[in-house]
Symmetry: C2
């Protein structure tokens, strides 16, 4: 297996930080970006339902439109690729229909043969009202955010997760409501500017024993 | 930098799957586990607040107690390390106090000098009621889940994320309510059993163009 050594993994996770200043001239090259997209697509999700849409923005005009609704954080415009993670607001029967069809295709079986599995998913969703379904989908989206940030770190790409934006404005600008989607979180990716002092600010984390408890 | 090549990263992300059957005899060795814990600690979070506690269970007796409250999914007992991700139910002023103190320590400044930053966090939390604060903390927890699963994949460790459990029962068994915590999601880690057919089941994902939209 082509694994990463424990030392190298930790070196990359310590190298990463929430990039405050991106080098606006530094673009992620196409092949590397294709890997990052593929990693997003491979993100695990509950039941495999993939309740998300990833909106990738490199267009300067679109970035500029989002900037005032992003607490004017310049990462939005200075990064190479800006990803908005949207969650579906209409999780329900058609979500499960689509997934069972996809699964049947890959497994080369009929959708009907997956009826038992389907009923487990239906049962799960039946226990959630519309708000709880959206909350569930949004939590899945955060798995994708986690996978994206870890992926970027091990590839040597800088990233800055972004919660500080006005979702309703993003939704409007990106045409999300008519597609039953809502902006949930975002992430700017690219390369740090040479003069970003945050790159060398010590990483602050609670001590292990405050965060991890062991039953051994 | 000690990065992973794009091909190797994708190979590992394709190698991973939600492990259904763990080899109960295969343990993650201590040094490798320490790396996985360190990766959990390094997980990014909103404002750096780290609103989580990771409960690591290797004790067979505790695992057995959790099994009936986990839809009897045997990963709970057969895995090497079972991690329960708990979120705080009392996010508030003391959460911010602790974080500002931690940050001041690492930056070698006084907590008072971070008053401006603090007011941004206070302002953010002031806009959320108790339910929304918990939902926010739980979303952060899912970043840690994402980082953990990606970390495991690049290290060659198997994992199975677990949402199918009774949080109230987990809370009781792990003594979480008295510490203002609630079980949010879990993840079993270890090594796949030789006879886990799911290991070779084709990975089912929606086509790129259904999931990714580009503004370029």
């Amino acid at each position: 297996m082509a694994t990463l050594s424990p030392e190298d993994l930790l070196a990359q996770l310590r190298w990463r930080y929430a990039t405050k200043a991106f080098d606006p001239a530094a673009s992620i090259e196409d092949e590397l970006w294709a890997t990052i997209e593929e990693s997003l697509l491979l993100t695990p999700s509950s039941f495999g339902l993939q309740p998300w849409k990833f909106i990738v923005i490199t267009d300067p005009a679109t970035k500029s439109l989002l900037l005032p609704h992003s607490w004017n954080q310049h990462q939005v415009v200075d990064c190479s690729h800006y990803v908005v993670f949207a969650a579906p607001t209409d999780v329900g029967e058609s979500t499960v229909d689509a997934w069972i069809e996809c699964l049947a295709f890959y497994r080369k079986v009929s959708p009907e043969s997956l009826a038992g599995y389907r009923s487990v998913i239906d049962g799960f969703l039946a226990g959630l009202d519309a708000d709880a379904r959206l909350a569930w989908a949004q939590r899945q989206v955060y798995i994708a955010l986690g996978q994206l940030m870890t992926t970027a770190a091990v590839l040597g790409v800088d990233a800055c997760p972004m919660e500080g934006f006005a979702p309703a404005e993003y939704d409007k600008l990106l045409g999300l409501p008519e597609r039953h989607l809502t902006a949930t979180v975002a992430c700017a990716l690219g390369y740090r500017a040479d003069d970003d002092n945050y790159a060398t600010t010590p990483k602050a984390r609670y001590p292990r024993d405050e965060v991890i408890e062991t039953f051994a």
